[in-house]
Amino acid sequence: MIQLTIDGKKVSVEPGQTVLDAAREGNIPIPTLCSHESLIPYGACRLCIVEVRHRNKTRLLASCTLPAAEGMEVTTNSEKVIRTRRMLAELLLARCPESKAIRNIAAQLGVEKTRFGKPHLKDNSAIVGTDGCILCGMCVRVCNDILKIGALGFEGRGASRRVVTPFEKPSEVCLSCGACSFVCPTGAIEHHRIRLHKPEPIPAEFEYGMVNRKPINIPFPQAVPRVPVIDPDTCMNFRTGGCKICEDNCGVHAIDHAQQEKIEQVEVGAIIVATGFELFDSRKLGRYGYGKLDNVLHALEFERMSHASGPTGGKILTKNGQPPKAVAILHCIGSRDENTNEYCSRVCCMYSLKFAHLVKEKTNAEVYNLYIDMRAFGKGYEEFYKRILGEGVHFIRGKCAEVTSAARTPEEKGKLIVVAEDTLLGMTRRLPVDMVILSAGLIPGKDSDKLGRILGISCSQGGFFLEKHPKLAPVDAINDGIFFAGACQGPKDIPDAVAQGAAAAAGALSLIDKGKVVLEPITAEIDEKRCAGCQLCVANCPYGAIEYNKEKKISIVTEELCKGCGTCVAGCPSGAARQKNFEDVQILAEIEGILTAS
């Protein structure tokens, strides 16, 4: 540690730190304009000047570039220092009289007015680029040194110096990251002059793009562990190798950009597959206008909107920020439909009722539920349905034909028109509403077949994982030791998913509790006497469970590795390979039995 004295106060800092660092450590204020914790000290604005005693003489030095040295005596508030800083503030004020940031910092130094006129070039022409830019170079340095992009640079010398892009054309290389304006002390960055490409907002995935997020974020409110993550697709460090400003900002040095994703191998005795579901993509049904018409939301979007931690803070609002006066909820989007999914997604009717209730409660809008059949089959569900009926929600039996914005009457103007056949009334209805909620169905995860292949489990017709037996083993996979929990096995609501999860856990626990697994005794073996040592079985075995014994000149099955497929048995020319319980004689007898019986 280095000890130095600043304004009579003893401060100690690590070697390599500057006097400015030391002053901040000791809570001694020093004004700066060109200093930033992430940037290499530059020493351009000179406002941080301090008086340093050196060999019986004092000198004025910029504290941001001055390394702290043992026994250094620094004064930050002497008359000379203050006089110098005020003069510098006057110079900056003369350059940028309109800049609020400069006026503020000058005021802090006690300078209200400058004695200097606006600087001009020698031929009396105005200096370009003085509208707020004080040439501290923060933008240039952050773009070059930190983000390693290099879209900005200095042009010219002396008073004509300017911050520009190459050839003053909007830059091709600018990634529109905004770091330049982030560090600019005077807010003088003019983005449209710098960037060629418009910045692309990063939509918050969890909020379905209704709001934007930063490259570093907490993915969703209930995330466990509740810590921020860095999105490598948008983080500047992963794009340019630079930045890492967050590392400098993190007080406990918890950020590590070098961290790599790892593949961990874990040996387990049981696997519970709980990979969930995905929501049906409503874009596939273009007639409902999702993705084309404003205020057509799918179920999860509405769920986020109505949630207190959501983008609107729980308020139900249309795009123009107003609560809707009429809302239509369309059931069976991507469910019970021969063109998409034939199965019933089970949960939509009930959540649609919940939505109807929420809309009614929060906005008192007219709510129309367009359903095919009401499926309120669970405990207390029918009662809830009744209650919603009592709340004045309209139920129209009939599937929606289309959602359009093409108005036919003045009342329909500016509204979304839901067209449907009311099968109870036997007539077509046009409902002008402000918001349409699509109660989309549940579909299997898009990579569930990939996972199925890895685990050796199959999928049933809809693509959900197939259980061992629909009635007797609804939680087990066909393979021993693999269990299902939740919607990966089929659409189900929360109570069902919880129940299945508990069952799966119990199934896994029973295996763990036993401590051992009983394998089916169907492994292969090779009759030593009959084996001719041709090694066909060695090539046939997918598990490498058969080895050729050079001494005995025969092949031998390693029983622990053998899974019992019997491929070697079928391929053995001498009949030496045998599969326990599936012996050739057994199968042949079976064939005989079948054929003689009939």
Binding site: P41, Y42, G43, A44, C45, R46, L47, I49, R59, L60, A62, T65, L66, P67, K80, R83, T84, M87, L88, L91, L92, A94, R95, R115, F116, G117, P119, H120, K122, I134, L135, G137, G153, F154, G156, R157, G158, A159, S160, R161
Partner: protein
């Protein structure tokens, strides 16, 4: 040139080259200034004359670099007698050669002593040279800069051979330290101390750099050296590299010196071919090579950190120097940077010893390298003196001697007013400093500096405010613009000075100017900014009355600031000779012959031609 395989080979070659010297030598100087005055044609004419005369190896024509006497370049000298012909015409060449071969002179071409009116026959009698002490510049007479043989013949590269064969790096550094040599670039940092720090600094790779980015207006001593004696710089750099442990050298020379670039590049190639640069120098195993780097002409690139940034390929911008370049310079490697003149001094110190060097100059450097200023210094003496040129004088000489004895006094018998030393950011010294001994510390004490050795002499016709304005306006262009005080302060100072010159200044402007100058000086990032206010501060200190006259009385005593000057013709004194009428470029003068003339104020551009041309002092200025 053969390859020199060992250290002894240098001495053997020197002896061999001296064995058969031509009897007669004809010198023609062809530096940049000589070339611009037709040296090429002169050389050609001398060569033709020699061819005609048919000399059988007894005569040699030597085309030298700059001989420093800029006023009268190109110069022809005929040796051994040393007949000195200033600026002869190519037509005179035949006669000079003819007479020269007979050992005779051509008296009609001699220069005339301005004081006695007698002809000056030989070079040793020329007053401009007589009062100088040409330690490092003198060799220019004996050298064809394109010939390494010439350099070896006069004892060149023997210092390098001595160092490599007899001396340890520590001993070399000790010798340089004891000599009291201080950086000739202007700041005067003791060279030996710098080298010792660089030697101590950790680093596999080290660099030496020769700063030949001579950007000061009116200074060209480095150019004279590079064009006249490039090998002395190479030898000095090689010795320095050996001492600090560097293996690579850079010469950063401005592109505005094309001849220097050409000659220096050629000299490096020759030295390489001779085994004096490259992998195994003189068979000692020491490896060192030099790369010539051309600068783009930014004044600030003469600052060491900006220069290094420029070599690295970055924009030439200085950085804070709390970490010295001897520890982390070029590409973060320890780097020793010295001026051309400093490097050229090194071989002499090695050859003749520190003891000899300390005999020249001021102060006592025993035990304290800052204790004095030793050796000689080259100044570019320009301005209102009779003889301008490059002047090498011992440290401690007075300004009076330089200006009046060597420079021959002020032109046209006018009155001396001031002298600016050290380039644009140096200061102006007044008459009372004429007996000031020139050394680093005295100049700084007086508010100026040594700088790169510019010396601009001013007479009574120079306005000091305008002079300060001129230099500030130069510095405004050359400020890199990185730090606030230099970028904004210099512009503001120039604006205030312009206001003063135009008579628009307010009361208090002089005080504001003074305060601003002090702040800029104290708070700038690099020395360019720190010294930029020197012209203002020194003129304010020594010529305050001129400022006051401008602001309070709205008058420019020297008549330079046009807005504050008016001309009129005194009818009493005017004889109507019509000289002013003829000379006036803007037809502003009217009058009948033999009748008093009159100046039309609306047409007058205040050029002052009438004032200068009137023989009867009838034109009045105020």
């Amino acid at each position: 040139m053969i390859r020199l395989a060992d250290c002894g080979a240098v001495g053997r070659l020197c002896a061999e080259l001296n064995r058969d010297k031509p009897k007669i030598e004809i010198l023609v100087s062809r530096g940049t200034c000589g070339t611009s005055r037709g040296a090429d044609r002169l050389v050609e004419a001398v060569q033709t004359a020699l061819n005609k005369a048919g000399t059988n190896g007894n005569v040699r024509l030597r085309v030298t670099g700059c001989l420093g006497y800029c006023d009268i370049e190109p110069i022809v000298i005929v040796r051994p007698a040393g007949f000195f012909y200033p600026q002869p015409k190519p037509d005179d060449a035949a006669e000079i050669v003819q007479q020269g071969l007979l050992g005779k002179s051509v008296p009609r071409l001699f220069m005339e002593d301005p004081n006695t009116g007698k002809p000056i026959e030989t070079v040793s009698d020329v007053p401009f040279y007589k009062h100088q002490n040409r330690v490092i510049f003198g060799a220019n007479f004996d050298l064809d800069p394109t010939s390494i043989d010439d350099f070896v013949r006069i004892g060149g590269y023997q210092a390098l051979a001595k160092v490599l064969s007899e001396m340890t790096p520590e001993k070399v550094i000790d010798e340089v330290t004891r000599s009291g040599l201080r950086g000739r670039g202007g700041a005067g940092f003791p060279t030996g101390v710098k080298w010792a720090s660089c030697r101590k600094a950790k680093g596999q790779l080290k660099y030496v750099v020769c700063n030949a980015d001579e950007g000061d207006p009116g200074a060209y001593a480095n150019r004279g050296l590079l064009e006249g004696n490039p090998h002395s710089v190479i030898e000095g750099m090689a010795i320095g590299a050996w001492a600090v442990g560097a293996s690579q050298g850079y010469v950063y020379v401005r592109t505005e010196y094309p001849l220097a670039v050409e000659l220096m590049s050629r000299a490096v190639q020759e030295a390489r071919a001779a085994g004096l640069l490259g992998k195994n120098i003189l068979g000692s195993g020491f490896a060192f090579d030099i790369h010539i780097n051309r600068g783009g002409g930014a004044f600030v690139c003469g600052e060491s950190t900006a220069l290094m940034a420029s070599i690295e390929g970055h924009v030439g911008e200085p950085r804070a120097k709390h970490i010295h370049t001897v520890e982390s310079g070029l590409w973060q490697a320890p780097t020793t940077l010295n001026n051309v003149e400093t490097w050229a001094n090194i071989p002499h110190i090695i050859n003749r010893g520190a003891q000899w060097f300390t005999q020249i100059g001021t102060g006592d450097v025993t035990g304290n390298p800052w204790g004095g200023s030793k050796g000689t210094k080259i100044f570019s003496l320009v301005g209102k003196v009779n003889h301008t040129g490059l002047v090498e004088v011992p440290m401690g000489i007075t300004l009076r001697k330089v200006i009046f004895d060597i420079g021959g006094g002020i032109k046209n018998g006018k009155k001396f007013k001031g002298v600016q030393t050290g380039g644009p950011s140096g200061g102006v010294l007044s008459e009372k400093h004429l007996d000031l001994p020139i050394d680093y510390d005295e100049l700084v004490e007086a508010g100026s500096m040594m700088g790169s050795g510019g010396m601009i002499v001013m007479d009574e016709d120079n306005c000091m405010v305008d002079f300060a304005r001129f230099f500030l306006s130069f510095l405004e262009d050359e400020s890199c613009g990185k730090c606030t005080p230099c970028r904004e302060g210099v512009v503001q100072m120039r604006q205030i000075l312009t206001d003063i010159c135009q008579g628009k200044a307010k009361e208090g402007d002089i005080e504001l100017l003074h305060d601003l100058a002090e702040v800029v000086s104290e708070s700038s990032l690099c020395q360019l900014g720190a010294t930029a206010p020197n012209p203002v501060l020194t003129t304010l200190a020594y010529f305050k009355d001129e400022y006051d006259a401008h602001v309070r009385d709205h008058k420019c005593p020297a008549g330079v600031c046009k807005a504050l000057t008016t001309y009129r013709i005194d009818w009493e004194a005017c004889t109507g000779c019509g000289v002013c009428f003829k000379n006036c470029p803007s037809d502003a003068i009217r009058g009948e012959k033999k009748q008093p003339h009159e100046i039309q104020v609306d047409r007058c551009t205040k050029c002052g031609v009438c004032y200068d041309s009137c023989k009867f002092n009838a034109v009045r200025r105020n």
